[in-house]
């Protein structure tokens, strides 16, 4: 990476705008990917019923898609495995629910409030959990999310409704327009498309390169005089906001806040979706979300109670034998059928572990 972009990004965590076309840049760089993505997402209510799904499933997939997209910015780009993302999803859901119940039924008010709540949560949890890396980080995020879950059921029970969740919310609306059926779907789908475009832009920005550098070798980055902490924190907060938006949409779609939104199983589900789909590929986790939700809602009707068991087995299989997830599988199939893969953009050459007679070695691919 050149020194000029180093200087630019060292000055501020935001991606430098203006000189290369800002946010619109991505439309020039990845036009096909983005257009295809948008078409597939927006047409989902048309093709999901063909596969045995229903309209609501499309909405759920889109909402969880936003959630996992943000998760991928943290895990896929930066290499931090959070086991507590339910904190942001559920936190935003509770704030949204509180807004609908006690303050206003306007979605914009609830949206702003939920994002403020997410920001506060992300800063507090980030300051504490980001002190450590790797496994410590996973355990700490899990602990903080569980703490929030426990608090919601005890200290804040008068506010959150305890084990019953938040019920009797006003029907959310946007200046009179009810948020039901396809309306909320298209709003969520638009947010997913925007979120996807932002994530693509992020990946190709100097900021994104910094995040990947953190994943590769944070110490080396620190030695070059870069404030690694600031980049990590920014990635964490951005990732939390995606989760927050998803939480807000979830309650707007179905005006009810379940305690499950804060439970660790929600965090676990996001992890499963991301890994099955393919960590770090942006599209992969969304496919993973679709797969898991399809399994949960459609395949369950066919195979019954054991769907979670089968999903767990699929997950273990993917972790063990297919670390790149479905996207990697698609790549392999693509390669095996005689096509050439487009080179992936990387700041370091692709290394792979090679068995030699002297043991494993890192070699250029």
């Amino acid at each position: 990476m050149s020194t000029t972009s180093d200087d630019r990004s060292a000055g501020g965590i935001a991606a430098p705008a203006g000189d290369r076309g800002g946010i619109l840049e991505v439309f020039k760089r990845e036009p096909v990917a983005l257009a295809a993505f948008t078409i597939v997402i927006f047409s989902m209510p048309l093709w999901i019923p063909v596969l045995g799904g229903y309209e609501g499933l499309a909405t759920l997939i889109v909402i969880w898609g936003i959630f996992v997209l943000g998760f991928d910015i943290l895990l896929g780009f930066t290499g931090y495995l959070s086991f507590g993302h339910a904190a942001f999803f559920g936190g935003a859901a509770y704030v949204t629910g509180f807004m609908y119940r006690d303050v206003s039924d306007n979605v914009i008010v609830a949206f702003v409030a939920s994002q403020v709540g997410t920001l506060i949560l992300a800063v507090v949890i980030g300051l504490l959990a980001m002190r450590r890396t790797g496994i410590y980080f996973s355990i700490l995020t899990l602990a903080f999310a569980e703490m929030l879950f426990a608090a919601a059921l005890s200290i804040f029970a008068p506010l959150t409704g305890g084990y019953d969740g938040m019920t009797r919310l006003q029907e959310p609306n946007l200046f009179g327009v009810k948020m039901d059926g396809l309306t909320i779907f298209y709003i969520a789908a638009a947010m997913l498309a925007i979120g996807y475009a932002m994530a693509l832009r992020l990946r190709n920005s100097p900021f994104g390169v910094m995040l990947r550098a953190i994943k590769e070798n944070p110490m080396r980055l620190e030695y070059t005089g870069i404030n690694v902490w600031r980049y990590k924190m920014a990635a964490f907060i951005i990732s939390a906001h995606y989760a927050g938006v998803a939480g807000f949409l979830m309650v707007t779609y179905e005006p009810y806040v379940a305690t499950k939104f804060l439970h660790w199983s929600t965090s676990g589900e996001v992890v499963i979706m991301s890994v099955i789909g393919g960590v770090g590929t942006l599209v992969g986790p969304i496919i993973g979300a679709g797969f898991v939700l399809y399994f949960q809602n459609v395949v369950q009707a066919v195979i019954g109670e054991q769907w979670r068991l089968i999903l767990g087995l699929v997950f273990v299989f993917v972790v063990a034998f297919l670390p790149g997830g479905f996207v990697d599988l698609a790549r392999m199939v693509w390669k095996a059928t005689g096509n050439r893969l487009r080179a992936r953009r990387h700041n370091v050459p692709d290394m792979e572990l090679t068995e030699t007679k002297y043991g494993t070695e890192e070699r250029l691919r």
Binding site: T133, Y136, S138, A143, S154, G268, L311, V319
Partner: protein, 312 residues
């Protein structure tokens, strides 16, 4: 004084199960560097194995069979799964053990249902224990007369406590002592501790460290087996017990310091006592362990007894 004594006992009992699970976790982590998200699943296997043997055969048989069975499960788990993940990133190790935890929980749900299976206590562990002080008169009721009794100088009158919970505390002390003995005073322990420092070097010296490590996982699993055997009758037998206990056990490990056995025991006692002393106030009790974790990690990021440079 009586209340204080009972609260401390309650705290030790809560801490006992956490201590046994956390010891296994920290042992596996310290030797293999693997965070075992499936440790709760080992506990689940233990409670179901224990309850089946106890109902169909006898609890005394379960006492021997279950820890041995769990030892085998642990060894198979290491040889069959973890072994292939030593060279993979930490996140992959977390993910695969997490996946296995889900699979075990779902298999348990499938085979035995999601509802609690009543776990009968053996006759010798039923009833209460009586602690009595100077000049106490124990009522001439058969229930009290036949119960085990213990004289303690500081008790005013007499108090009763669930006998099984006292047994649990005692078993934990024995299990922890045996583990410490194994690791500190035997050749096996010496090799394992050396392997914790530098496993490559130990291997160069001609020692089959892989076999020792498999046994370490087996040991960790066996302690989880003991925890399930004695914890099952108190906490219940449901498939989600594993995950319920896993999070506090992780916190115990983190508070005590990753890889530190003494730290795990110390932290388990602290957590247990703090839960017992806040029992009057459920709101505080619900979050107290997380608060302790936050405070400890703010002031001692490596945990209470954590050493520098352990997998950082």
């Amino acid at each position: 004084m009586n209340d204080l004594f009972l609260t401390v006992l309650a705290g030790l009992q809560i801490g006992a199960i956490y201590a046994m699970l956390a010891l296994g976790l920290t042992l596996i982590f310290g030797t293999l560097g693997v965070v075992n998200f499936a440790h709760g699943a080992l506990y689940v296997i233990a409670i179901y194995a224990a309850v089946q043997v106890a109902i169909n055969v006898d609890f005394t048989v379960a006492l021997i069979v279950v820890p041995l069975f769990l030892f085998v499960v642990g060894v198979v788990f290491e040889r069959g799964v973890i072994r292939f993940f030593y060279d993979r990133p930490h996140t992959d190790q977390i993910l695969v053990t997490f996946g296995l935890a889900i699979v075990v929980e779902e298999v348990a749900k499938w085979l035995f249902g999601a509802n609690n299976i009543p776990f009968p206590r053996p006759d010798w562990g039923d009833g209460v224990i009586i602690f009595y002080g100077p000049g106490a008169v124990i009522p001439p009721v058969p229930v009290f007369q036949e119960a085990p009794q213990l004289w303690l100088p500081f008790i005013d009158g007499f108090v009763t406590f669930d006998y099984w919970r006292i047994i649990l505390i005692g078993v934990t002390i024995v299990a922890v002592s045996v583990l410490f003995y194994l690791l500190q005073f035997t050749r096996f322990g010496l090799i394992v501790r050396a392997g914790m420092r530098d496993s490559d070097m130990v291997q160069f010296l001609g020692i089959n460290i892989a076999r020792r490590f498999a046994m370490v996982v087996g040991l960790g699993a066996a302690i989880a087996g003991v925890a399930g055997l004695f914890g099952g009758p108190i906490l219940g037998v449901t498939p989600d017990q594993g995950m319920k206990l896993l999070v506090p056990s992780f916190l115990v490990v983190v508070i005590g310091g990753m890889g530190s056995l003494a730290g795990a025991v110390l932290a388990a006692v602290i957590i247990g006592l703090s839960l017992a002393f806040t029992a009057d106030n459920p709101d505080i009790q619900a979050v107290i362990i997380y608060l302790i974790a936050v405070v400890v990690l703010l002031f001692r990021p490596r945990g209470l007894l954590g050493r520098k440079g352990v997998f950082e």
